[in-house]
Amino acid sequence: MHPAGSVIIFTVASGLGFGLLTWLGLGLPNTVGWAAFWHYAVGFSLAGGGLLASTFHLGNPQRFLKAFSQWRSSWLSREGCLSVAAMAVLGLFAIGLIFFRVSWQPLGYIGAILAVLTIIATSMIYAQLKTVPRWNHWTTPILFLLLSLGGGALLAFQTLPGLLLLALAGGVQLLAWYLGDGRFQKSGTDIGTATGLGVLGKVRAFEPPHTGNNYLLKEMVHQVGRKHAVKLRFIAFIMMILIPIGLLIISHAVPIVVLALVLHVIGTFVQRWLFFAEAEHVVGLYYGKR
């Protein structure tokens, strides 16, 4: 799949934002006044900024309101509805904390649940696609959730939960890579089933329908950059998981946590780029590509 910048920024930023908002909704840390203001400002800018970034890849973003209508069937629509609901509920909770110095905790809990559901809905946009066998697996939502909550914990200075969640995320990430590499083969879809000609013999794409490029190839048969995938996996895993965990084991001092957070975010961007770049869509089979 084509690793579009807007979608990478969207999933990383809003993942972190809703991760942070989850912790804030739970009252961790329990701050009021200006401290609460800054916490929520960071949470809302990441969550909202990410959502805004996602509109940059739309062909007709001015019709975005319609995207809230199909929550019965569409994960993308659910994601939109849940994100707005989470931000609205936590916005009210934040108003209480910032302006009245009171904690309407039930509101916070509801908001936290909505934030978690938002993260799950985001991941399900990808995990639901049978056409991308690497994504179509339970590790996708679990990994998104653990990374969002782990990164959010670092942002909320919840260092111990952050440490544990990052360790779990690391384990799931390794599993996702390991299982993901064999998913396409295992799916049973190949050029033989794609064309139905596999029963006759060995099928080879002889001539493409057109000499130039097209939308399908640009969007779904992205092959550039996969050659560095192994190196990038090392970079992503070390920066996203290993170094932040190492730093948090050494110290919980503010500068160290900030450093761990920055490295984690950079690593997550690399991880997310790979998430798209390494994902192979079955339509590539029609072009004799993966």
Partner: protein
Amino acid sequence: MTTLPQSTQKKLGLVIDLDTCVGCHACVVSCKGWNTENYGAPLSDQDAYGAEPSGTFLNRVHSYEVQPEVGPAQLIHFPKSCLHCDDAPCVTVCPTGASYKRQEDGIVLVNEDACIGCGLCAWACPYGAREMDQAAGVMKKCTLCVDRIYNENLPEEDRVPSCVRTCPSGARHFGDLADETSDVSLLVAARDGMDLMPELGTKPVNKYLPPRPKDVIPEFDILAPYLEPVATTQKGFLGWLDKALEKI
């Protein structure tokens, strides 16, 4: 509404004969010609006369080589457009309700006024049947020429999809695949019509007729064994060369 109908009264679709398709791409041109000036936004081209031309097409013809275990390879031309699936994954993922499957005839359409151009339906389609128009920013797909098949301003023989009307080799057939007595259903039954990627559970309405097996000419000439070449070793200069090279 982007939930799928429980069932559709008709299942209008295409039956494509891979045995007779000659790969002329006339259906591609005819489809683009009709659909660029009728239903919805035109099918735009980018850099049409430049170094890297590309454009939106609703129908494309691939060509595949099939090498059987014995015998010569076969070349098969393979037109591909929307299969108007019963369980269309492109419809349910749509966040705006722009994508829908019609209850009355099973045609999968896009309401372009509601499409935000997110591209998720194209990701959900295993067949590459949907292409985002780069000029209009909305998703384009085969409409089964919904503006021809019910169009009473056209002569009756023209009330079929443009690709079907154009095909010079009669490789494309249009009809109701829910009706077991329709011509297309009988054709599918007679020729073992098949689904593409059945393992993905999309239940395509369009069917493909596999190429018929090639004739094998039986050995019937009783004199043929006597006409086999007799000399197995080379003589003269080539024979000497063969031996000399062997010894090196």
